[in-house]
Symmetry: C2
Subunit: 406 residues, 2 copies
């Protein structure tokens, strides 16, 4: 398996584009409408936010994917198209506009939106912009444009592609994603569109997505909020020519591994680019009695505002780590817990058997001042583990969210 | 029922004091050791943090209250006395020191600590300071000193007293509390010590406390973190001379109402003085199908970092309110939801039937710029309601917690 350039246009037979159409009215230079299209029909699967309030495009996409197939994706940023009287009609119209511009049918499209909730979508802008968005290209600039057109408060575009070998053929997976605020477990957690030329049945594709998302995107938390619009969709057009993956054979295992790596890298990128984040925080909980316990504990740690603020201050305040574990509702024995912090420049043990260790505060501060910091927790209770990702809590987060809408 | 001056020394037969002994070593002017003592044995009850990691003083207090009686409280701020090898011994020693200084027995004392976790308590400072802390007085300055001696990052001291009439006698309740960071539901949520001269059995006292805390302190959230040290204890010495409250008679009803009002006012004070807070946020959810649902929804709203940041920015971003309700896991019908914001200067309806309303942004901004803002949510589903309290998320919160320990 190897990382290759490009994103959603890296797999065979996919084109993409992104334009500014005017949904982001005050930012005329920012792209806000993305289109992805396959040259052939795709097996398709998606997972959606667990929020009880779901935006209209999600319901429309669910309908369109009922048959397990799709040809493309139409997505806008700048407006969530949620909780407005016309939201559902506009989500349907987006699919119709994409279909008209590409010569396909409305039900061939995954539709997605991201942005402010409760403000009417500027559908006129989408109408006017869709023909330009259909200027699709198979080159890397197509994926780049689409990746930029789904960004909101993201500071860097997120795209990635991987190649692996299945049945003697090169199979490629590509993806674009957006994250930033309102990132939290229980699916969705953001927008992510994965394309692949793998030949795989819709059932196996859906199975793979449901195996991967809980261990990648659902282990990211930026601020504990779960958006109304989160979605991760995968489209597989089969053009790699590998033997069709119909059950959990070796090919499936390779595909699953590649999909997991792709999603994990994007999950880390989303966490590290959380709103206002100055560093990526990884919490690995090991030797737990179950994976579920380990995940709950790790998620509580990376989700704790007090831990996040301490990480911002590069303060080795491990008591907050143990405290967050304590209220996670996962069972564990505090008196067995070891905690250490590590990063590119070293590691420092701060707690053993639930009790504080003497450590060099200056060394700890230097370790915690890096772009990526790992909180290692050993429970000494079992064989299971889980890793969750988050970011620090900064002034910038408050600034961005104190005045996002206006 | 009426509010009267003073705090824990307002009820008959209670004395208190607070001193600087040196636990807060870098802040020589800040008090850090409090003592409260009754002239007679008290019926006593307490509730504790639900965090799996509990600080040593909590275990010691549980032991001491096993017989349902106590004479006083010894508490320090500046150090949590948690997760250190000597924590338990030191918590026991604090009770012994308080007993020696007052001529009582160690088991007569509730012991509590608040501050940094995992650093060894400066017990020598407590040893040296306890005799001075025992300079108890029944005047309001005694309660004032004790209230100040339990503060950490609190910006204002919290104390309150209420008088009510039970069986023709004036019964007084007083309390001091500290809150600020790590404030979150599931008991505890902070330190609060309530004194009363009410004659009430230990069983009825415990019952009243358990009825009141879930509807007051447990409905406060500052940052979702639940501390290892939270405790609310109540001591009743019977010196008001009212007929002993032995069951749920009229006297109990009056006492319960007074205790609830006392705790509710302190809960609001704690929320409004959350770390870095610039305003108190109240969310009232009405017409819910159950009180539990209403509480979950209201708590999710005041706990959402995105809602909190919007409130800091005085931004009427009601979509975040609906979104937070959506991930609360409480059942409700989004399409029935009405939302409005109100404060001392007016009210503005922003959402009806789950859909956004047109509203005057400038008027909304002025309403949201007040010290107390109420988010009113109507579900149109039933007859139940709940109110939760929180605060906005500010630069100051990040600053305080990015460098609290050092």
């Amino acid at each position: 398996m190897k990382q290759i350039p490009g994103g959603v246009t890296a797999p065979k037979g996919f084109r993409a584009w992104g334009v500014h159409c005017g949904v982001k009215s005050k930012k005329a230079d920012k792209k806000d409408l993305a289109l992805i299209l396959s040259d052939q029909e795709c097996a398709a699967a998606a997972v959606y936010t667990m929020n009880r309030v779901k935006a209209a495009p999600l319901y429309v996409t669910m309908e369109h994917l009922e048959d397990g197939t799709a040809w493309g994706v139409a997505a806008n940023s700048g407006n969530a198209n949620a909780c407005c009287p016309m939201s559902h009609e506009y989500a349907e119209e987006m699919a119709r506009l994409a279909a008209r511009a590409t010569g396909r049918a409305p039900a061939d499209f995954v539709v997605a939106s991201t942005g402010v909730i409760g403000q009417t979508l500027n559908i006129a802008a989408i109408r006017a912009g869709m023909p330009a968005a259909a200027g699709l290209t198979a080159g890397p600039e197509g994926s780049d444009a689409a990746a930029r057109a789904i960004m909101t408060t993201d500071t860097v575009k997120k795209e990635l592609a991987l190649a692996c070998s299945i049945g003697g053929r090169t199979v490629t997976l590509g993806a674009i994603a957006k994250g930033s605020g309102m990132i939290h477990p229980n699916m969705g957690t953001m927008l992510c569109f994965v394309t692949t030329d793998c030949a795989i049945t819709r059932e196996m594709l859906s199975e793979a997505l449901r195996e991967v998302v809980p261990r990648t995107f659902n282990r990211v938390t930026v601020d504990g909020d779960t958006s109304t619009n989160d979605m991760c969709a995968v489209l597989a057009n089969g053009m790699a020519g590998n033997p069709l993956i119909e059950w959990k054979d070796d090919g499936y295992t390779v595909f699953l591994k590649a999909l997991r790596q792709l999603c994990q890298e994007l999950a880390r990128a989303i966490a590290g680019d959380g709103e206002g984040a100055s560093r990526l925080i990884t919490c690995a909980v090991r030797e737990a009695r179950s994976e579920e316990s380990a995940e709950r504990l790790a998620k509580a740690v990376v989700g704790s505002p007090l831990v996040k603020a301490a990480m911002f201050g590069a303060d080795a305040n491990w008591g907050r780590v143990l405290c967050a574990m304590g209220y996670s509702k996962a069972p564990f024995r505090p008196e067995y817990v070891d905690i250490s912090f590590s990063s590119a420049v070293g590691a420092v043990a701060v707690c053993r058997g639930g009790m504080g260790l003497d450590f060099d505060e200056e060394a700890a501060r230097s370790i915690l001042s890096q772009d990526e910091v790992v909180i290692d927790v050993h429970l000494h209770e079992g064989e299971h583990e889980a890793t969750c990702w988050g970011c620090d809590l900064t002034y910038e987060y408050v600034k961005i969210n104190g005045d996002y809408r206006t």
